[in-house]
């Protein structure tokens, strides 16, 4: 009798109620063909740093705010490995990585917060949104303006650019020769993100 009771108790312990599936919010997957570059300048010349390889398949999840006609993102970020930047000038590349503290903060993150609902946007029309850019351990919010380009099979591209300052992230642009040779404060982030719906 005790043995039966013991076995019954063990069975109860291993019983788990069936997991109720949580409905997934709509999501977009960032495709590997996405592009991102940084334009900067020094008091000598201009330079552009390209991402050599964007390998991560980041997913952006959103819910629709019908009243505001916006998409609100949840835990959605595009992660860029800073070591993958190539400025095509070896000294600028290494100086930029050092300035961005890539050894301690290896990623540039663009956290999507909100965006105009694309259902209401016509081809070629500008889309507004907000992002948090996380760089070298600091986060700053920016208002963004994108261009949406629809492609086949529910795919689309989000293109945009934003001028930011090193000082926005408490960073000091590199300078040499007592500051007489220096990188300027302003840098421009240009991006073309390729999206496909999650699950397609």
């Amino acid at each position: 009798m005790l043995r039966i009771l013991f076995i019954a108790l063990l069975s109860l312990g291993s019983f788990r109620p069936a997991e109720i599936p949580v409905p997934l919010s709509p999501a977009w997957v960032v495709e590997s063909g996405s592009l991102l570059n940084i334009e900067g300048s020094s008091n000598i010349n201009r330079f552009t740093c390209h991402i050599r390889q964007y390998l991560q398949s980041d997913t952006l999840r959103w819910v629709r705010d019908d009243r505001a006609k916006k998409l609100v993102f949840r835990n959605s970020a595009v992660n860029i490995d800073i070591s993958q930047f190539d400025c095509h000038q070896k000294y600028i590349t290494s100086d930029l990585r050092k300035t961005l503290r890539a050894d301690k903060y290896p990623q540039l993150r663009i956290h999507f917060l909100s965006m105009d609902d694309l259902t209401w946007v016509q081809e070629g029309q500008k889309v507004r949104g907000q992002v948090n850019i996380e760089l070298a351990g600091h986060i700053k919010r920016y208002d963004m303006e994108y261009t949406v380009i629809h492609e086949q099979g529910n795919r689309f591209r989000l293109c945009g650019s934003k001028q930011i300052l090193f000082s926005d992230f408490n960073l000091v642009p590199p300078g040499k020769l007592a500051g007489l040779v220096r990188i300027n404060q302003e840098i421009k982030v240009n991006f073309e993100l390729h999206f496909r719906p999650f699950g397609s």
Partner: protein, 136 residues
Amino acid sequence: MKKIVLSVLVAGIVLLAMSLLLIFIEIKFFPGLVEEYFSPVFRWSDTSTDWLFYTHPFVVAFALKWFWERYKDLFKGGDLLRAFEVALVYGIIAMVPVLWVTYSAIDISLGMVLTWLAYGILQAFVAGYIFSKINP
């Protein structure tokens, strides 16, 4: 003594102005060479060390003034000729050997080393001319 101090100060100020002017000229006409200053062998700009750069003309002026006072009687002729001789001596005795070993040890281009040689010789020429004028 007054003349010595005055000539060092004047030379220092003129050499400082000249160094800034030459940097801007180099940026304008030889940007590829200036880009090399982004190399990691060069110190990052920092308040704790930047002042060394801005005071180096006075160090050079002081050193050349000591040399001038010691050996000025050997340099004959007009102000320009005397300045030229000082520049030549300084270039051969001080600049060439130091830059020779610098080039052998540090990963910098020959072009950059040659700009430093020209800069040093020009510094000595300008300082020598000022000393010859103020304190012959």
